[in-house]
């Protein structure tokens, strides 16, 4: 199966600050991929690199097997909804559709018009006068109507009220069900991600912390509760993601590839939010030193 997005050591630097560093991913097609992380983690940077609005400072990125934005054909295969869903304020809704038709050879006018009618948007309404939710829907329509293979959305619902957010996600899911596009969407709302995504990438402090299908993630992460424990003696196939201790009890969230055999632990399932928060809560430095500690003990 080809990857929709494949990166290798990808990095982007502004001055001395690395907005994204050492990002190696292979996102398979046919999924709705959630990109989560705190603000400033590099989500926007990664997505902008994927659509060719930014060029890498280090490493490589390939989208649908080609270099992002390399030619009009490549551009036609990827639909993009940028952060804050920019529209031309002075142009009407109908003008935006005409824009799409003129600038995209793969334009599906029937789909676009049907969508707009379904949304109840008047064609002569100026885009500048639309509500946030309507603007987001318009930009999504533009992205979808050119019949791309991949849709990339940069925090499309962050500034929308709950109803507009729900409606946007409904339309997005309907699109996926109907056309089978792969989707990569970033958000810092784990609840939304849980509903619509089946693949997750966690980005914290400009690095990829974990990536995989949500099913895999949920089955490979567990919470262990037990007596106060020395972290150094954890088995090598168990990676501690988050830990907290009282003077008598240790609670840790681990990633493991095998069953928990140690009877001293109580094993609990975790929710996706638990997993994401665990990865988001840690400092990358702390993790690597912990890994070092484990290695020395071997």
């Amino acid at each position: 199966m080809t990857a929709v997005v494949a990166t290798s050591g990808l990095g982007k630097r502004y001055g001395r600050n690395w907005a994204l560093s050492d990002c190696t991913l292979e996102i398979p097609q046919g999924h709705v991929v959630g990109l989560v992380g705190p603000n400033g983690a590099g989500k926007s940077t990664l997505l902008n690199l994927a659509v060719g609005l930014l060029s890498p400072s280090a490493g490589e990125i390939e989208v649908l097997g080609g270099r992002p934005a390399s030619d009009p054909q490549q551009l036609g295969r990827v639909g993009f909804v940028a952060q804050d869903t920019p529209t031309f304020a002075g142009l009407s809704v109908g003008d935006h559709l005409r824009l799409g038709a003129h600038l995209n050879p793969g334009w599906d006018a029937e789909l676009a018009e049907g969508r707009i009618a379904q949304l109840g948007l008047a064609l002569d309404h100026r885009a500048g006068k639309l509500s946030g939710g309507q603007r987001a829907q318009l930009v999504l329509t533009l992205a979808v109507a050119k019949r791309p293979e991949l849709l990339i959305l940069d925090e499309p619902v962050a500034s929308l009220d709950p109803l507009a957010r729900r409606e946007f996600l409904q339309i997005l899911m309907e699109t996926v069900a109907e056309h089978g596009v792969s989707v990569v969407l970033s958000s810092h709302l784990v609840a939304d991600i849980e509903r619509v995504c089946d693949y997750l990438v966690v980005l914290v402090a400009s690095r990829v912390q974990v990536a995989g299908t949500i099913d895999d993630l949920l089955s490979s992460h567990v919470r262990l509760i037990g007596a106060r424990h020395d972290m150094g003696s954890m088995p090598s196939n168990q990676e501690v993601i988050e830990e907290s201790h009282t003077d008598r009890q240790s609670t840790i969230l681990i990633r493991t590839d095998g069953p928990i055999l140690d009877p001293r632990w109580t094993v609990e399932q975790v929710s996706l939010e638990d997993v994401v928060l665990a990865y988001m809560g840690q400092q990358s430095g702390e993790r690597s030193s912990r890994r070092q500690r484990l290695a020395i003990r071997r």
Binding site: R166, L169, I171, M173, V176, R195, D198
Partner: protein
């Protein structure tokens, strides 16, 4: 024959139950309560996700499990249809039993029990009676 009333799914993200399982349970419940009968069509994947904004794969997974359990069958190009219900001869007893339940609930409320206590009381009794082997 299509009765014309399709099941409407809901999703509760607060419970620990995975979304696809919630859909499966809702279909099974509907089958049990005779709200869905043989030949009824389940909503298409597109209709479901357009309503409750979840991943289409989730719906597919739920329908596949139902198909695996022999309850529904997918007809390519047409849709997914119910082939077996879970309601049985006991369906006749549902009416009166439901009636008694409603009366019991009214009694419990009059005695001052809140929702949580009612649920706890029911679960506890249910578990105990199951353990005793009395169905």
């Amino acid at each position: 024959m299509n009765r014309g009333m399709m099941i409407e799914f809901t999703l509760d993200t607060r419970t620990g139950v995975p979304p696809y399982l919630q859909l499966v349970q809702q279909v099974r419940r509907a089958l049990r309560l005779d709200l869905l009968s043989e030949g009824d069509q389940l909503p298409t994947v597109k209709e479901v996700v357009a309503r409750i904004a979840i991943n289409p794969n989730t719906v597919l997974k739920a329908y596949r499990e139902l198909e695996h359990d022999g309850l529904v069958a997918a007809r390519p190009g047409v849709g997914t249809f119910v082939v077996k219900t879970l309601s049985d001869s006991t369906i006749a007893a549902h009416g009166p039993l439901r009636h008694e339940l409603v009366r019991w609930l009214a009694k419990a409320r009059r005695a001052g029990l809140d929702d949580e206590s009612i649920e706890a009381l029911f679960r506890d009794s249910f578990r105990a009676s199951s353990a005793e082997g009395i169905a």
